[in-house]
Symmetry: C2
Subunit: 448 residues, 2 copies
C-alpha cells in the first residue's frame, strides 16, 4: 500500500447530536446539550481517537422565530453552551485535540475576536481555530439591534475587512519580542511590537493586541459559507473549509473551485483542507444501520419536521405530508426554495421524506451502512479529490460518535487513511498547515 496523506477528522459536537429527535432516543440524556460533563466526555473520547479537532457551530440566539406553532418546544437544538467558554473549559481537560469555535463577523468586533482566540490558543498550548461565518438568521439580527439580517454584499465586505483586522492584531508581537531582561528592566523589545492602526470602511482599530503571539503562531482559520463571496474569504484566509456536499460530483467541483481560488490568491492549495460535513449511522449490518436511522426518524413530530421547510417554503401543514412537495406560491420564497425543490424532484420525495432528510443531520450528507460501506464512501471522496477530511456531525451524542470510533475508525486505519497517534501538539501540526508569516516579517513561533 502506498503511503498516503492521512485525512483530517473533526467532531462537530453540538447539542446531543444533529438529528432533530436525538433527545428522544431511548438512551439520550435530554439535558446533556447544556451539560459541561457531556462535552468533557466527548472531547476526551475524540482525543483518545486522535481526531484533529473539536468543532462548534454557532448561532447567537434561538433561530426559530420562523417555525410553525408548536415546533420550537419540540427541539433540543435551541439551547447550547457558548462556544468560546465551552472550548476554553475543554482546553483544560484535554492536551492535544484542536478546538475550533464559530464566531460571526456580523455581530462581533474584531478586537474581541482576535483577543479571545489568541487567549484560547495560549490556554490550550496552540490548539485554537476560528470558524469564520457571517450568520444567516433574522433571530440573530434582532438580538443585536437590527430588524433584519445584513444583506449578503455588505455582510461579506464587512467579513473580509474583519478578518484582515484580526490577522493584523495577531501580528502585533513578534514571537521573540518578550526578552524579559530583569537586569536592564526591559520586558519586551519595542521594535518587535507592531501597532496595526487599521482605518477601513467598516472598522477603525488601533492595536496592538494585549496578548503575546500565540503558541501556534496564529490560530487556525476555518471558513464555512458556500457563496462566491464566502469562497473569496476562504481563498484569502482559510486553512480549513467546512462545506456541505451531498454527491460526489458536486463535492468535487466545489473542491476544485476552492482550491483554484486558493491558488489564484497566491497560496498553496494544500494549505487549505476541505472538510465536508457527514452524519453517519453505522452498524455491523446495513439492516441494523438503517434501523437506527428509521428509529430516530419516527421520533420527529410533524410540526418539528415541517419547521425545517418553513423558513424556505412557508407553512406546508395543510398539505398531505406523504404527497409531493408543492411549488411554492410566494415568489419571494421561490428562489431560496429552489435547492430544496430540486432535491425533492430529483429523488421524487414526499414532503415528509424531504423534511426527514434534512432533519436527520441538519442538512448534512447522511451515510448509512456497515463500517466498510461508510469508509468506502469516505475513501472514494478522498481518492476522487473531493475532500481532504470530514467534519463528523453525529446524529446522537455520544452513541453515534462512539459507533464511528468503534467501527469506522479501525477500518479507516486499516486502509492507512487515518493516524494511529498524534505526531504534533498543535492543531496546525495535526492538519499539516504551516504557520503564516507575519506581515511585519518578524519571528512567528517561539524558539525552543
Amino acid at each position: 500500500m502506498p503511503t498516503r496523506q492521512p485525512i483530517s477528522l473533526g467532531l462537530s459536537m453540538r447539542y446531543i447530536g444533529y438529528h432533530a429527535a436525538s433527545w428522544r432516543h431511548p438512551q439520550a440524556q435530554p439535558g446533556a446539550g447544556s451539560d459541561f460533563r457531556h462535552f468533557v466526555r466527548l472531547a476526551q473520547s475524540a482525543e483518545a481517537a486522535k481526531f484533529d479537532m473539536l468543532f462548534l457551530a454557532d448561532g447567537i440566539g434561538i433561530r426559530a422565530k420562523d417555525a410553525p406553532p408548536g415546533a420550537l418546544q419540540q427541539t433540543a437544538q435551541s439551547t447550547v453552551l457558548e462556544p468560546l467558554t465551552l472550548l476554553s473549559g475543554l482546553a483544560a481537560v484535554t492536551e492535544r485535540i484542536g478546538l475550533v469555535a464559530t464566531a460571526s463577523t456580523t455581530y462581533n468586533e474584531p478586537f474581541h475576536i482576535a483577543r479571545k482566540y489568541a487567549s484560547l490558543d495560549s490556554i490550550s498550548g496552540g490548539r485554537a481555530g476560528w470558524n469564520i461565518v457571517t450568520s444567516w438568521s433574522e433571530a440573530e439580527a434582532r438580538n443585536f439591534g437590527r430588524d433584519k439580517h445584513m444583506d449578503h454584499g455588505p455582510r461579506y465586505a464587512r467579513a473580509a475587512e474583519f478578518v484582515e483586522v484580526v490577522k493584523g492584531l495577531w501580528d502585533s508581537w513578534d514571537a521573540d519580542a518578550f526578552v524579559h531582561d530583569k537586569a536592564s528592566g526591559t520586558f519586551f523589545d519595542p521594535a518587535k511590537m507592531h501597532v496595526l492602526d487599521h482605518q477601513g470602511e467598516h472598522f477603525r482599530v488601533r492595536g496592538p493586541l494585549d496578548i503575546p503571539r500565540s503558541p501556534q503562531g496564529r490560530p487556525v482559520l476555518v471558513q464555512a459559507g458556500a457563496s462566491d463571496a464566502g469562497i473569496g474569504i476562504a481563498a484569502a484566509n482559510a486553512e480549513v473549509v467546512y462545506s456541505v456536499a451531498h454527491d460526489l460530483n458536486g463535492a468535487k467541483s466545489y473542491y476544485d473551485k476552492v482550491k483554484n481560488a486558493v491558488a489564484t490568491a497566491g497560496r498553496n492549495p494544500s494549505g487549505c483542507k476541505i472538510m465536508p460535513g457527514i452524519t453517519t449511522f453505522i452498524a455491523p449490518t446495513e439492516t441494523e444501520a438503517r434501523e437506527k436511522y428509521e428509529q430516530l426518524n419516527a421520533l420527529v413530530p410533524e410540526a418539528l419536521g415541517l419547521s425545517y421547510l418553513y423558513g424556505q417554503m412557508g407553512d406546508l401543514s395543510g398539505h398531505d405530508l406523504d404527497g409531493p412537495v408543492p411549488e411554492p406560491t410566494d415568489p419571494a420564497v421561490r428562489s431560496i426554495a429552489k435547492g430544496l425543490l430540486a432535491l425533492a424532484q430529483r429523488d421524487n420525495l414526499s414532503i415528509r421524506q424531504l423534511y426527514t432528510t434534512i432533519a436527520a443531520g441538519f442538512g448534512t450528507r447522511i451515510l448509512i451502512g456497515t463500517p466498510r460501506q461508510v469508509v468506502d464512501e469516505l475513501e472514494a471522496w478522498v481518492e476522487a479529490g473531493a475532500a481532504d477530511g470530514f467534519n463528523l456531525c453525529p446524529p446522537v451524542l455520544p452513541s453515534a460518535f462512539d459507533d464511528f470510533v468503534a467501527m469506522a475508525l479501525p477500518e479507516l486505519r486499516r486502509r492507512g487513511l487515518f493516524r494511529e497517534e498524534y505526531s504534533g501538539t498543535t492543531l496546525r501540526e495535526h492538519l499539516g498547515v504551516t504557520v503564516p508569516n507575519s506581515r511585519y516579517g518578524g519571528a512567528v513561533v517561539p524558539r525552543e
Copy 2:
C-alpha cells in the same frame, strides 16, 4: 467570642502581581502573566484556602499610549490572558471557588455578555460573576472605532440599560422550563420561556437567551466604579462592590453611602458586600515585611514610575524626583490631578514617593507588616463597618499570595473572621447572597 459573619475574600490575580516591578523580583517568572499554568496554580491555591472567588480586572487593549517614552517596555502589565477564556479554563480544574470576570458595558453587546456569563455559570456549576465596569481609557476607545472615550453621563446611561437587558435575558427561562418529556416530544414548556423584547435608548434586544437558566439562578453581579453614577448601578444591581479606599474614614463613609443607596433602591443592604482592594506585604517581622516592600520599589525604573503620573499630571521627567510634587500647569490636567496632589500634600511626598505608592499596588491600599498587624487592620475595618471583605491584589504572584495564606489566613481564622471550609457550592452561597427573583415570577433554581 461571639459568632460573627465571616468576611468574604477574593483573589485578584492579574499579571504576576500588581506591583509595577513584580516581574523583576528574583523569584518571579516574567512570562507567567500569560501562562495558563500560573493561573491554574493560583486558582487551586485560592480554592484550597477557601477563598470566595477569583477576580480578574480587565482593560481591552494596552492602556499605555499616554506613557512617557521608554516606560511601556518596562512593564509586564500590558499583556494578559482574556478573562472569560481564562476563567472558563479554570472552571474545569476547580470545584468550589467563584469566578468573577470584568467586562465593560461600553465596548460590548448585552446579548454576548448575558450568554457568555450564563455559559460560564453553567460550566462551573454556579460559580460565575460579572464585574460591571464602564472602562476608562482612550486606548480601549481606539480599539473599537472611537477617537476618545465615551463621556461619563452617556457611558453610565448605557451601562444602566445594558445591565437591565442582561438581567432580562437571564430571566428568559424559568428553572423548571425544561420538562424533557420524551413520550410527548415536549422538550420545554413554552409558557416558561420568556421573550424579553427590549426596546430602549441604547439597545434593542429581542431574546430569549439560548442558554437555560444558570445553576445559581443568575450569575453574581459585581460593580466597580466610584462615582455617583457608578453607585447608582451598584445600588440597583450589585451583590458585590469592589472599591478602592485608603483610610478608614473614607472607607466607612463610602460603605455607608453605598449601603444606603442599596436600601433606597429597595434591596437588603446585607445582600451587597463591599470589598475594598488591598495589597499586602507580610513577613514574620515588620522589618522583613518592609524590606520586601523596599526591595520591589527599588526595581521600579524612573520612567515606569513616572508613567503612573503621566496621564494625570503630564511629563514630570524634567523635575527633581526627590523634590516636591509640582502644581500642574496645564489647566485641563488640573482637575483630574487633584486627588493625587492631595495625597502628596497630605503625606508630604516627593515625586518618587508618590509614584512608588501608586506603583506598588496599582493604586490599591497597601498594608505592610506582621500577620497580626495586617489582620488587625482588616478586623478594624470590618468592625467599624467599612468593609464586608477584601479583594486581595498581591504585589507578586504567587509568592505574596502564598504569604497571605500562610501567615494572615490562620490569624483571620483564629479570630473567627474567615471560614475553615466551604459550606456551599455556588458563589452565591459563599457570599451569602440570595438568588434574585425572576421578573416573570417563575422558578429561579432547579429543584433538587
